[in-house]
C-alpha cells in the first residue's frame, strides 16, 4: 500500500470559513493508505511548501494530496515542491475544496462532508497513480509570423535579432499594413512613413527573415515545436527574381483600377505596387482587372519590360515549411462606410472614413498632402469629424469602444488646421478617451490652442444638399440640436476584425472572441499567447490598438517565441493516452475521433497507436474505445471507477 500524506489548506478564510478543515484532516487520516494528514493556513506559502517537503522526506511519502484551490492554480507549484525532495510530480494530486466546495456552499456541516468526499476521491486516484516522466519533444527553432503590419514586422525583427529564422507571410504584395497608409501619428505627430519604412527595409534585408509577400497560409498541422505549414504563393505574373522595380510597366498599363491603398481616391494600373515605398518593391498583375487576362489582348507590360520579367503563365505555388512557433498578426479593418445607413451608406461623395482622410493628409497621398475633397477637389472650409461611427452601439453595430478613434480624430482635426488655416473643424464625440502617455496633453492642445470645436453628442443623420454635406446632431451639453452645412465629413469608423481572420483561425485552430478578435490565453496574465500552445498573437487583430501598444505586444509575443526556442527540447505532459496492444481489436474508432490527429493505425499489426508528441491528453479516444484498450495515464478506467465510488460515499 502507498504511503499518502494529505495536506488541508485553510486558504486564509476562503476555505476554513465554510469547511471544518481540522475535521477534514482527521477524517483523511483514516482513509486507506493515508499515513499523515494536517491542516495549515496557507499551504502554498513558503512555510506551507516546506511542511509538504519535510513531511515527504520524514514520512517517506509516495503520494501527496493537497486539499486546496483549483489545480489550475497550484498543481504545478506543489508538484515542483515534491520533485525537489525526490517525489515524482505525478504522485501529487490536488483535491479542489475551494472552487468546488467552500466557495459554492454555505452550510458548514454539508460543505465539510463534501470536502471529505473530495479528498477521499483523490486518495482513491492517488493509490493507483503511476510515476511518470515528461515526454521530450524536439523543437524546430524557426518561427512563422502571419501578417506584415507593424505588429508582424516588429515580432519578426525581434525574433530574427535573437538569431532564429523567421518566415514572414503577408497576403498583400508589400508589408507595412495600415500604418503605411497613415500620414502623421498621434501624439507626437511624427510621420508614419518615416518611422515605418526603415523597419520595413530592415525586415526585407534581415538575413534571418524570409519575406513571403503575396502569400497566404493554406494549412497548419502539427503541434508546438513541430508545425508543418503549407503556404500558397499567389502568382504575381512577374518574375520577381529578375524584376528591377523600374516601374515602366506600371506607367504604360492602360487599365484603371481604384487604389485600395488610397481608399479609392486614386487609381493604378492592373500591374502595380500598392505604394512607392513598398517592400519588396515588385509589381503584381491583378488578374481580375488585367485587360489581357480578361480579353486575351494587350500584353503591353510585356512589351515594355526591358528585361522580360512578365510571366503570364505563372501559377500559384505551394511551399511547405517546418516551424516551431507561430505568431498571428493579421491586423484589423475598419467598418465600411457603406454599412452606416444614417451616414449615407457610402453614397454621399464627401463622407469619407479616417483612413481615406489619412491618405488626403499624406505627403505621398493622391493629393500630395493637400486636403481636397473627393467630389470636386475643392479645399473644404468646414469639416465635421464624427467619432464612434459604428462603435459603442450594441443595438446596431459594434458594442465595443474602438479605442484609437478619439486620438486620431483629434490628430485629424489638428493636421487639417495646420493645412487649412482658415478652416473650421468640428468633432462630434461621446466621451474623449485619452488613456495613454501624452494623450491628454495632446487633446488639450487641440481643444484650447487650435480652435477645434468639440460637440458632445451623436450625429443622427448625414445627407447631401447641393455641394454641401449636411450633418444633423445634438449637442448634449447645451441641449440644442445642431445642423452643420459641411464641405467634408470624416467618419471614425469602428475598428473591426478582418473578414479573412475567421478563415485564418480555423486553419490555425486558435480561438476568437464574440467580436471576431483573436482570443488571448488569459486577459491579464497571458495577453500574447493563444490557449493552444505554440501560437502567439500580436497587434490589432487581438483588439483595437494604437501603434505603441501594438509594438509592445509584438515584442511580447516575440519574447515568448524566443523563450520557447531557448530550450533544448519541449516537455510534454505524460498524462496522455496509451494503448494496451494485447487488448486493442483494431476498430479504429479512436483514430476517427482524435481532434489532434494523434491516433494512427498500424496496418501491419492491426492495432491503433498514440503519437505521444501530438496527444494533448483530451481523453476523447479513451471515451471512444469500447474495448478498454486505450486508457489515459493516471486516469484509468479503474481509477475513475474507484473515484466515482468514493465520491458517492460508499462501496
Amino acid at each position: 500500500m502507498k504511503r499518502i500524506g494529505v495536506f488541508v489548506c485553510h486558504c486564509g478564510i476562503n476555505i476554513a470559513d465554510t469547511v471544518d478543515v481540522k475535521r477534514v484532516a482527521e477524517e483523511a487520516s483514516r482513509m486507506p493508505g493515508v499515513v499523515f494528514a494536517r491542516d495549515y493556513i496557507y499551504m502554498c506559502s513558503d512555510p506551507g511548501q516546506a511542511l509538504v517537503r519535510e513531511t515527504i522526506s520524514q514520512e517517506k511519502l509516495d503520494g501527496v494530496i493537497i486539499a486546496a484551490c483549483s489545480p489550475s492554480l497550484h498543481e504545478s507549484t506543489f508538484r515542483a515542491a515534491a520533485q525537489e525532495v525526490g517525489l515524482n510530480p505525478w504522485q501529487v494530486e490536488i483535491a479542489n475544496i475551494r472552487e468546488q466546495c467552500s466557495w459554492v456552499h454555505t452550510d458548514r456541516k454539508k460543505a465539510t462532508d463534501k470536502a471529505i468526499r473530495i479528498v477521499s476521491t483523490m486518495v482513491e486516484k492517488t493509490l493507483l497513480n503511476e510515476s511518470l516522466s515528461p515526454i521530450p519533444v524536439r523543437i524546430t527553432k524557426r518561427a512563422l509570423v502571419i501578417g506584415g503590419g507593424i505588429a508582424g514586422i516588429q515580432a519578426a525583427l525581434d525574433i530574427a535579432d535573437s538569431g532564429h529564422e523567421v518566415i514572414l507571410v503577408e497576403k498583400d504584395s508589400s508589408i507595412g499594413g495600415h500604418m503605411a497608409q497613415l500620414s502623421e501619428t498621434f501624439p507626437t505627430l511624427d510621420c508614419s512613413q518615416c518611422i515605418l519604412t526603415p523597419k520595413m527595409v530592415a525586415a526585407g534585408k534581415h538575413r534571418n527573415i524570409r519575406l513571403m509577400t503575396y502569400s497566404e497560409v493554406e494549412e497548419v498541422s502539427g503541434y508546438v515545436g513541430n508545425f508543418n505549414v503549407r503556404i500558397r504563393r499567389k502568382a504575381p505574373f512577374v518574375d520577381w527574381s529578375v524584376c528591377t522595380g523600374c516601374g515602366l510597366c506600371m506607367e504604360k498599363c492602360p487599365a484603371k483600377v481604384p487604389s485600395e491603398f488610397d481608399r479609392g481616391l486614386s487609381t493604378h494600373g492592373a500591374i502595380y505596387v500598392p505604394f512607392p515605398q513598398a517592400v519588396p518593391n515588385k509589381p503584381v498583375i491583378d488578374r481580375d482587372s488585367c485587360i489581357y487576362f480578361r480579353t486575351g489582348k494587350c500584353r503591353l507590360c510585356e512589351k515594355v519590360c526591358e528585361i522580360g520579367a512578365i510571366r503570364f503563365e505563372q501559377e500559384d505555388e505551394i511551399i511547405e515549411e517546418e516551424v516551431g512557433a507561430i505568431v498571428a498578426a493579421p491586423g484589423y479593418d475598419t467598418l465600411p462606410v457603406t454599412e452606416l445607413k444614417e451616414y449615407g451608406s457610402g453614397e454621399v461623395p464627401d463622407v469619407i472614413d479616417g483612413l481615406a482622410f489619412e491618405r488626403l493628409l499624406s505627403a505621398s497621398g493622391p493629393t500630395g498632402g493637400e486636403v481636397r475633397r473627393p467630389s470636386d477637389g475643392k479645399v473644404p472650409k468646414e469639416v465635421v469629424f464624427v467619432q464612434c461611427a459604428g462603435s459603442r452601439d450594441p443595438e446596431r453595430y459594434k458594442p465595443y469602444c474602438s479605442k484609437i478613434c478619439c486620438m486620431y480624430t483629434t490628430k485629424h482635426a489638428l493636421l487639417y488646421k495646420h493645412r487649412v488655416h482658415d478652416g473650421q473643424p468640428y468633432i462630434f464625440y461621446i466621451d474623449i478617451r485619452t488613456g495613454g502617455k501624452g494623450y491628454e496633453e495632446f487633446y488639450h492642445r487641440a481643444e484650447q490652442e487650435e480652435g477645434i470645436i468639440y460637440l458632445r453628442g451623436k450625429v443622427a443623420k448625414i445627407f447631401q444638399d447641393g455641394d454641401k454635406t449636411v450633418v444633423w446632431g445634438t449637442d448634449t451639453l447645451s441641449g440644442r440640436n445642431v445642423e452643420i452645412e459641411a464641405d467634408l465629413v470624416v467618419l471614425a469608423t469602428a475598428v473591426v476584425s478582418r473578414d479573412s481572420t475567421g478563415e485564418l483561425v480555423k486553419k490555425l485552430r486558435i480561438q476568437t472572441g464574440p467580436n471576431g478578435f483573436l482570443s488571448e490565453a488569459h486577459p491579464k496574465l497571458r495577453p500574447v499567447e493563444s490557449i493552444n500552445s505554440g501560437f502567439f498573437i500580436a497587434g490589432a487583430a487581438q483588439g483595437p490598438k494604437d501603434i505603441p501598444e501594438t509594438v509592445a505586444q509584438a515584442s511580447g509575443a516575440a519574447c515568448k517565441v524566443i523563450s520557447l526556442f531557448s530550450r533544448d527540447h519541449l516537455e510534454q505532459d505524460p498524462a496522455i493516452a496509451w494503448v494496451d496492444e494485447e487488448l486493442c481489436g483494431g476498430c479504429r474508432i479512436c483514430v476517427s475521433v482524435c481532434p489532434y490527429d494523434a491516433r494512427e493505425f498500424d496496418e501491419e499489426r492491426g492495432i491503433a497507436t498514440v503519437n505521444e508528441a501530438l496527444c494533448e491528453g483530451c481523453g476523447s479516444c479513451v471515451a471512444a474505445c469500447a474495448c478498454g484498450a486505450t486508457q489515459q495515464r493516471n486516469l484509468s478506467d479503474s481509477q475513475i471507477r474507484r473515484m466515482v465510488t468514493a465520491s458517492l460515499g460508499g462501496e
Binding site: D580, E582, L583, C584, G585, G586, C587, R588, I589, V591, S592, V593, F601, G606, S620, C621, A623, A624, C625, A626, C627, G628, D637, R641
Partner: protein, 323 residues
Amino acid sequence: MSKPKVAFYWAASCGGCEIAVLDIGERILPLSEAVEIVFWPCAIDVKYDEVRAMRDGEIDLCLFNGAIRNSENEEMAKLLRRKSKILVAYGSCAHEGCIPGLANLKTRREILHRNYIEIPSLDNPDGTMPRTRTVVPEGELELPELYDTVLTLDQVVEVDYYVPGCPPVADQTWAVLEAVLEGNLPEKGSVVGAGTKIVCDDCPLEKKETRISGFVRPHEIVPEPGRCLLEQGIYCAGIGTRTGCGALCPSVGMPCRGCYGPPPGVLDQGAKIVSALGSVIDSQDPEEVERIMAQIPCPVGLFYRFSLPHSILRRKTTDDYKD
C-alpha cells in the same frame, strides 16, 4: 481410476445452451466414454434428491446455464455449488443475465400484472395470480417463487469459470471440456472458451474510420458488402464485445449483438459502447445528435441486451405498477 463425473443444469434460459452442448456433434461420443454424466435433466432422468444424496464435491465439473430467476434456480445453484468441484457459468444467462435479465427493466408486480391481467388474449376472469402455495383436494402444492430481480450465477454462489456466449460456440465448449479433463485450467474466476480481444479483431469487414451520421436497422438497408456495418449506420456491438465466436454474425453480414460480453478489463459493456458511439456521431449540433440517437428506440434493450443484471445499471429501480 474412475471416470470424472459431469453435470449439466438448466436454470432461467431458453434451452439454447443445452443444444449448444449437443452441438459438439460426434465428439459427444468420446465425451460420454471419458466421463460419467451424473445429472442432466434435459437428457437423463436423475431426480434432485439423487443430487442431494451425493457427497459434497462429488461432481467434478458442472456446466450451469441460465440465470437465477426464481427460488428453484437459486436452490439448485447452491446445491450444485456444494456438490461440484468446478462450477462453470456456462453461456450468457449464467454469466451476465442475458435476455431473461432484461426483465430487470420491470418489477415483478409489473410483469405479473402484464402477463396475468393485461394481455388481450388472456382469459382470466377471476384475476388469478400465480402463488407459491396452492391448496387442492389432494393436498398443498408448492411452486417456486418468482424473484423481483434476475441475478447472474455469481451473484448467488461462487463461480469458478465463465464460458460466455448466447450460446457458446461448439468448438469453444469442446475446448473447455478438454481443458477441464486434462486439468489444464487457468486462474480461478477467469473467462474461458473465449478470446481476449474484441470481435472487430476477427471481423473480416473493412473499416475506414468513418463517422456515423445516422442509425438504420438491419432490415432497412442492403449493406455494402465487405464494409464495416457500424460505419454504414447499423448498430454492431463488435467494438465492445469479447472475441470467441470467430465473428460469426458480421462474417455473414449481420451485426454483432454482443453476446460474448465485455472484453477483459471492461466492467460495463453497454456503457462502454454508448460512450464509443457517442464519440463517433458525426454532428456537433445537439439537436441533430438527439435526432440521431432517437433512431435507437430502446437503448437499454440494445446496449444491455446481454448484460443488464451484471452491469452497473443492474435493474430499474422504480415501480410503475398500477392496480
